[in-house]
Structure formats: C-alpha cells, structure tokens
Amino acid sequence: MIELTRMELENFCPFFGRHDIDIGHSKNKLVIFDGGNGGGKTSLLKAIQWCLFGFYTHKAPKDKIEADFNLLNKEALCQSNMNAPMICRVTLTFEKNDGETPRQKIVFSRVMHTKRKKPIYTTTTGALHPQVDGFEFVKTEEGGHQDFSALHWVGSAQKTVERKAKDFRETYFPSLVNDYYIIYGEEFVDPRNPEKLRTAISKNCFAETFDKVKGNLEQLKMEILREHTRDKKRREALDELIGKSKDIAEKLKEYRDRRSTCETNIGEIREGISKLDRQIGRSGGAQVELLKDERAVVEEENKNITAEIKELEKDIAGTGFDILIKMLSQDARKDLATEIQKHVKKGDIPPKIKTEFINSLIEGGRCICKRPLSAKEKKILKQLRDENILGENYQEFLDMRFKLLDLNSRLPQEIQDYKSRLSEVDEKRRKLSSNTTRLAQISDELNSLKNVSEYEQQRTKFAKRLVDIETDQALLTTEISELENRQRTIQKEVSRIGQSGVKYAKSYADLDELIDLMDKVKQNTIDSARNDMEKFASETYKNLFKHVSEIDRIEIDSNYQTRVVFRKGNKEYIKSDFSTGESLIFAISFLTALRTYSGYTGPMFLDSPFSVLDEEHRVRVSLNIPDAIPGQLIIFTRPDTFEDMKEKLMKRINKILTLTKEKEWNNKISE
C-alpha cells in the first residue's frame, strides 16, 4: 500500500509562498481537505496531477505553456523580477507501507522557474525544456512511478478485464453491483436468493413485534375475562390457567428475544463474511482460486504428458538403432540388433558404447558376423563416428536422430514413422517445458497474494460461528412454536370458562377483532414489503443485468455523471435510468471495481464527491466508502456537506485539513 504523507507547495495556484502539509500516516486511511468555494480544493488536486504527470487535465493539453502559466500564483508572479525569479514547485512524498520498517519513501518534485512574465521550463539540472515530460525524481526506486500513474492502473485494469473476458458477466459485473450497493448503503436483496429475501423481510417488517403485540392482547383478554368472572371456582380455575399462561408468556418473551439476538448476530456475521469475501476478492481471493484451479489442471496435464513421453520413448527405444542396423548390412542386422538392443531396451545406452562399438567395427574391418565390411559401409560408419552422430548418450542420440535417418533412403516408411513419433515426443516435451514455466509463474503469483490465507482463516471461523448460531436459532424456533401451541390451548380453555360465566365489558368487545386484525395486517405488511423489495431488486436487474451481455462500455465524466453504453451488433444505445445521485455512486463503484481489478495500491482522490447527494445519502455513502475502498482515500469536500458527516466519520479520519481563502491569490491550509 502506498500513502501520500506530505505535500509541499510553493507559489502554486492560489497558494502564495510556501505551504507544507504534513499528512503523516495512521491506521485510519481517510484524509479530508475541507474548503469552501475558491478554497483551493481543485487546485490541490491539480498540484498532485501536475507533479505526477506534468499536466492536470485527463490528457496532455494542446498549449502546455498556457496551461502551465495558469498554475502560477499571480501574486508571486507580480512580485518577481529579473533579479528574483519566481519558483513554482510541488513536492509529494509517498510512503510504501508493506509491513516492513523503515518505510520506503518516494519523493516526486516538479518545478517551474519564471523570468519576466514568460515561464521557462527547466529540469532540476537546469537544462531548458520547452515541454516537460515525465517526472523529475529527487529520489525514487526504479519503476516506482508506475504505481502512481492513473493511466497505468486503468490500463492494467482493462488488460485484466480483457483477460478475464469470459468471467466478466459472472464475476466482474456482479462485483461492481455489489460495490454499488455497499457504497449506496442500500440493503440489496437478490431475488434469486429466497432465504436472504425472507431474512431481510422478516428483519425489516418486525414480524416478531406483531407476534409480541398479539400475545399481549391475548393476555389482556384473559385478564379481562378473569376480572368479570363472579363464580369463585371458575375464578380459581382461571387464576391457575392465567398463571401458567404468564409463565409461558415470560418464557416466550425470553426465547423470542434470544431468537432476535440470534438473527441480529446472524446478520452481523453474514455481513462480516461478505466483508471478508470482499477483502479476499480485493486481495485476489478469486484470483487465488483461479490460480489454484489452473495449477491443478497444469499439474495433472504434466503428469499425463510425462507418462505419455515415457510410454512413447519406451516404445521407440532402439528403433533408430534398428534402422541403423538395417542400413549397415542386411546380413549383419540380426547380430547387431541382439547386441545393441539389450542396452537400448533398458532405456540407457551406456556412454560411449555406440562410438566404441562403431570403432571396433571400423578397426576390425568386419561386422559382428565376421563378414568384411564394404567400403561404402566403412565410409558410413566413419561418418557416423566423426560427426558424433550417435552422440554420447541416449538423449543425444535421440537429438541426432534426423541426421542418422536421412542417411538412408531405403527405409522411407519406417523412417517416416519414426520421425513422426519422435516429433510427437518433441511436441510433448515442449508442452511440458511451457507448463513447468507456467507453474513457476503461478507459484510466484500465489506467494504475492499472502494476505488471502489470513482472511480465509477468519472467514472459516465466521462460517463455523454462523452454523452454531443458526442451530441455536432453529432450536429456539421449535421451542417457541411449542410454547405458542401451549399458550393457544390455555387461551381456548380460559375463553371457554370465562365466556360461559360473564360477558366482558363493552369497551373490550373488539379485542378479538383487534387480534384478528393483527394477523391480517402482519401478513399484508410482509407481502407489501416483499413486493417492494422484489420490485426494487428486479428494477436493478432490469437496468444492470438484463442487458449485461450487450454492455459495451461505461462512461464517466468529471462530474461523475455516468452512462452505460450498450452495443447490439453495430448499433449503440444508452440505457441507464440513474438519478444524479445514483450516477455518482455508480461512478465511484465503477472506479472502485477498476481499482480492485488493477491491483493498484496507491491513494485514491475524490474531488467533491458528495455535493449532489441529499443529507441521508451523504451520511450513508460517506460511512460506506472507507469500507469499500481499501487503502488511503483522500476526499476534497465543502464544509456544508462535510458538517453532516463529520461526527460519523471521525473514527476513520487520519487528518482534516481546512482550506481558506484569505485574500485573492493567498489561500491558507491549516489543521
């Protein structure tokens, strides 16, 4: 992870003179720059962009001199003269936090000197450059700057997405939607998951509250009956029943509370699990799974290839010698075959056996059967020996096979078969070698994803706890159902005894009606909530999922306005029913998802992201953004919007820096 820890500005935009901003580092990753209109928020962002990339627009400006002139502090420019040239400078200090101490510091600096009114560009070495490209490193590590290039990480995200094109619909897009809902703070329920839907509805509709009220009304009804019963015996019977009923009611209350606690815990644990899943995903959990799967496939493939090569080599072992024998002498081939084959069949011809054998043939001038060798045969043998065609070992022999085989044209079919089987072995060896290289790469990639196992361990613990609590919840539900049955029996009995005695007061005559009503309204409320949730979810799916196969690109402008562009054949069409606020959240989610997939570890800067949101959404989004975006998050915001969120965000903030405009071209930065 890379954090911005210090900024130094000198005569940059509205900041006259020198300003040192010490951000430092803390476990809290949120940094707020709070300033009103003209406070210098966007200028600070420009300073960062200019220092890192040489320009502050999304691409290099056409007229760089004019663009850079706009960055100069005009107060300082007025005060500068031939003898005292003005310096405009931005220095950024980043620190690499990868758990190692001391932290590695990376410093970037960009400077402009001016003489008279026209800026002249210089590098730190003093050489004149009309256009300054690239960075001027005061001190850096090789390649370090790449971590900061927005183009680099967006580029690598695109690459990743392209590479995972097959997984796009299944993995990448749902993750974008997931981030969207996390940031939005909406409870998103996938209508394809009935269990989740049921839990969410039950939680949102206070199903237990209806049961509680109904139970209490039943209790009240019994007490009224008892109150109006004059007969002593009946009153005694009722007292006993009501006593039992009260005990059951207390127990029911306790069990329902416990079940409700279980539900809350289950919700929290599920939230924890999904948070860990997100962290695992961000740390490359999905990638780990993919890599592990790939490793298993490659290892299995290698195992098969090795066995096949072994089988093929065993099969063709000696074939080359057989051909040689045939080629040397028709008469002697059986003797030679017997002699050599016993070594060849073992798969390991002892070194030098072939050359020694050939030498003995040449020196003796005879073959094994003592027949004198012809001049042609001697010539071939010498050639074989001198050119070391047979090699010194079995592998070398295999490599030299083609030379050997080309010497003889009398055995075309046999040679052809032999050649093709040898090239089959070659092909398999090449595959084996490329697989081995890939396995080494996978191993390196897996090592670099070391955090994942830690998250996975936590997730396993959470999952185990979830099972335990769900078991408790199921047991409590059984108990509650049993108690409710007993309660109903008692209530019937009370009703029977009471009603045969007196009629209870008229003011309570509608109690039964209220109890019935409670059941109906409970059912209707749950149905209406389900409809709303399903409608909400299905609209989301309609907007985002229905045409996902046709999504061509997502466009985000500098105001976070987002357009989802679809393509059907050659036709482009836009279908995004997002409100302004939704657009903004979608844009941030998309950037977050891109960031996740690119593996970018540097800070993320957001310029006034909350201004279009109403207070409720602002609070929710601001609370959720730090969770959704790992690493340092630097937000530039206005005081009126920040005020609503300040209290909630305090625990997550590393530093709040206030930007104020004291007078024209003289803004201040304070803690």
Binding site: L220, E223, E250, S507, L514, S528
Partner: protein, 65 residues
C-alpha cells in the same frame, strides 16, 4: 436506539399505517394498533406485567376518544 434503527421503526410504522388504510379499518382500531406497535418498537422496554397495563391504558384512552 440508533438513528438508523429509529428510521427503520418509523418506516415500518408508516408501512403498517398504509396497510391499515388500505384495509379500511376504523380510525380507533388503527390508532390503537399503531400505538401498540410503536410502543413495542420504541426504546422503552417493559416487563410483561407493565406491558399488559400499558396495553389496557392505550385501549382505554384511545377507545374512549
């Protein structure tokens, strides 16, 4: 009670109120039911006995209006 759970309770009561309107129940019944539900979702926790007395009180007060 957190602001969020307070908001949730309010939303819930509003939903129930709409349902009762749709079911065309009498104004008295609606008021009683909503007050009882509000009482149960509020921060104020009661024992079982207190709850029954409060129920009686609510029904008496609202019923007599």
């Amino acid at each position: 009670m957190t602001k969020l759970s307070k908001q949730k309770s309010e939303k819930f009561i509003e939903r129930v109120s709409n349902q009762l309107d749709e079911m065309k129940v009498s104004a008295t019944q609606k008021k009683i039911l909503l007050e009882l539900l509000e009482m149960e979702t509020s921060e104020y926790q009661t024992t079982e006995r207190d709850a029954i007395s409060r129920y009686k009180e609510i029904i008496d007060v609202v019923g007599k209006k």
